[in-house]
């Protein structure tokens, strides 16, 4: 028997409808997925089979063909698992409901199956839901972990589920799934800033320019003279200053290492004559000109 369920996939940031056609016939036991699936989709064969078996449903080995339509676009991801499983169960006559066709027409299934029949979260739920709403789909059955993300959208029923069993009993008309309530996004929460503009001394013109840039969404180029950064943030703002100090100490460390290498190779004239600490210093600075001994002597 043939069954068709609906799911959605992402291309870039736009969702598109994927019809999942499942056919079960007699013949050599086989399970094929066609319609340009990538490895993660192909692997769903094992997940779907095992998940159905672990949901206490008898799963007979027969010849199963699954087509992901449109068949000419590549599909990736594990979000088709649920739709494939539901399609197989319907094609196998495991779900009986007089309204089934109407329900399938209005519903989209999204979710990755784990082997024990749980439904795991998937990526890109929000763009999928937006596209589904545009297409006039009435409800989306999706993993519970994704429900909050989807609930931003109004005008479409979000039905979060945890297990394949819940979906089966819903389709059989035995149990209802509680709708997810709409939530609003709060963009205006106050953030505590690590740095505050009030800590920056002077630079009024720069602050003003950045304010204008922020207010109008303008691009902005800062042309700054050297050493600006050191003076940029006042003494109190420890964080920025600390970073600067670290960078300086890394520089010193490198110099030290360099002198150490030089010393092991060859002990030079000024290293002998000067005390240890000063020779460290001078070798690090003049190491580039060591061969020119006159110049180094003069400099030392």
């Amino acid at each position: 028997m043939l069954a068709i369920t609906k799911s959605m996939a992402l291309q870039g940031l736009e969702g598109y409808l994927v019809a999942i056609q499942v056919d079960i016939s007699n013949g050599m036991p086989d399970f094929q997925i066609v319609g340009l699936p990538d490895v993660s989709v192909k692997e769903s064969r094992e997940r779907v089979k095992t998940a159905i078996r672990n949901s206490n449903i008898e799963f007979l080995s027969r010849r199963i063909v699954v087509n992901l339509s449109p068949a000419n676009t590549k599909k990736e991801g594990s979000m088709f698992d649920l739709a494939i499983a539901v399609g197989i169960l319907i094609a196998d006559r495991n779900i009986k409901n007089s309204n089934l066709e109407k329900i399938l027409e209005e519903t989209i299934f999204i979710g990755e199956l784990s082997l024990n029949g749980n439904i795991e979260k998937t990526k890109g739920i929000l763009p999928i839901c937006i596209e589904a709403k545009k297409l006039g789909i009435k409800r989306i059955i999706l993993p519970k972990q994704n429900a909050k993300e989807a609930s931003i959208l109004k005008g479409i029923d979000i039905l979060p589920v945890n297990t394949l069993k819940e979906v089966i009993s819903y389709l059989n008309g035995k149990k209802k799934i509680l709708k997810q309530e709409n939530t609003d996004v709060n963009l205006n929460h106050d953030v505590e800033y690590e740095f505050d503009f009030s800590e920056v001394k002077g630079q009024q013109s720069v602050k003003r320019a950045l304010e204008v840039a922020a207010a109008g969404g303008h691009n902005c180029l800062l042309i700054r003279f050297s050493r600006f950064r050191k003076n940029y943030v006042s003494k109190e703002s420890t964080n920025y200053f600390a970073r600067y100090e670290i960078r300086r100490s890394i520089g010193n460390y490198k110099n030290l290492q360099y002198t150490w290498i030089n010393r092991t190779r060859k002990t030079t004239y000024y290293q002998k004559t000067f005390s240890k600490s000063t020779s460290y210093y001078y070798t690090s600075i003049f190491s580039g000109r060591r061969k020119n001994s006159k110049a180094t002597e003069r400099l030392v």
Binding site: Q11, G12, L13, T73, K74, D190, Y193, F195, D196, F197, S198, V200, K201, G202, Q203, S205, V206, K207, A209, L210, E211, V212, A213, A214, A215, G216, G217, H218, N219, C220, L221, L222, I223, R224, F225, S226, R227, F228, N231, Y232, S234, K235
Partner: protein, 211 residues
């Protein structure tokens, strides 16, 4: 928001590929059999030194670079990319007296409130046009929203002749002037708004004109 520190040190190809997303606010990636378009609405903030030694144009210290070096360094930012950046500003060194000053300056929260107010004005104004900020204005919309009075026209005219501004720079100045007016909660653009906007546009001549 995209912040690029030390702008000329970036790979030139990478910088040039920013041109289209900056203009169209979306980025298209073509692969074997599909083309995917992603939205890329962002605000670019970049910072750079004016020359390799970092003192060209500074009032406090002399620059030690050769003129070719400066040219080469600065020209890593191409004209078209520079044109797409609305505001150019010089960051000067802070004087010791300023560091010692203890007077209170504005906190980020106060600035944010002003910015939010200006954004709100824009959102309301552009409700029907599906844009959100002044930077997205197209020439047609600018005609109706960025009207100038005769005085500010005069200022702009003088600046145009003296600074040799381009047509693109003209549009940018008007947009920035609109934003400054919004920050002041003025419905019409005044002379001081235009003057401030011109000021943000005068630096590219100082650093890039010697090519």
């Amino acid at each position: 928001m995209l912040f690029l520190d030390e702008l000329p040190e970036f790979n030139q190809n990478a910088l040039e590929s920013l041109r289209v997303p900056l203009e169209d606010r979306k980025v298209s990636i073509s692969r074997l059999n599909t083309t995917v378009t992603y939205p890329s609405e962002f605000m670019l903030i970049a910072s750079m030194n004016p020359c390799p030694c970092g003192y060209y144009g500074s009032q406090e210290k002399r620059c030690s670079c050769k003129s070719e070096q400066i040219k080469k360094y600065v020209n890593r930012i191409s004209g078209p990319l520079l044109d797409r950046i609305d505001i150019h500003i010089e960051v000067n060194q802070v004087k010791y007296s300023q560091l010692e000053r203890k007077e209170k300056t504005e906190t980020s929260q106060e600035v944010k409130n002003r910015v939010n107010q200006a954004r709100k004005i824009q959102l309301e104004r552009y409700q029907e046009y599906r844009i959100f900020s002044n930077s997205e204005l197209n020439p047609k919309l600018m005609e109706s929203f960025c009207k100038l009075n005769s005085k500010s026209k005069k200022i702009l005219e003088i600046a145009f002749d003296k600074l040799g501004l381009s047509a693109r720079a003209y549009n940018r100045i008007l947009k920035v002037a609109r934003t400054i007016a919004d920050l002041d909660a003025c419905a019409k653009i005044q002379e001081n708004h235009v003057a401030e906007a011109i000021q943000y546009r005068s630096l590219d001549r100082k650093y890039w004109n010697n090519r």
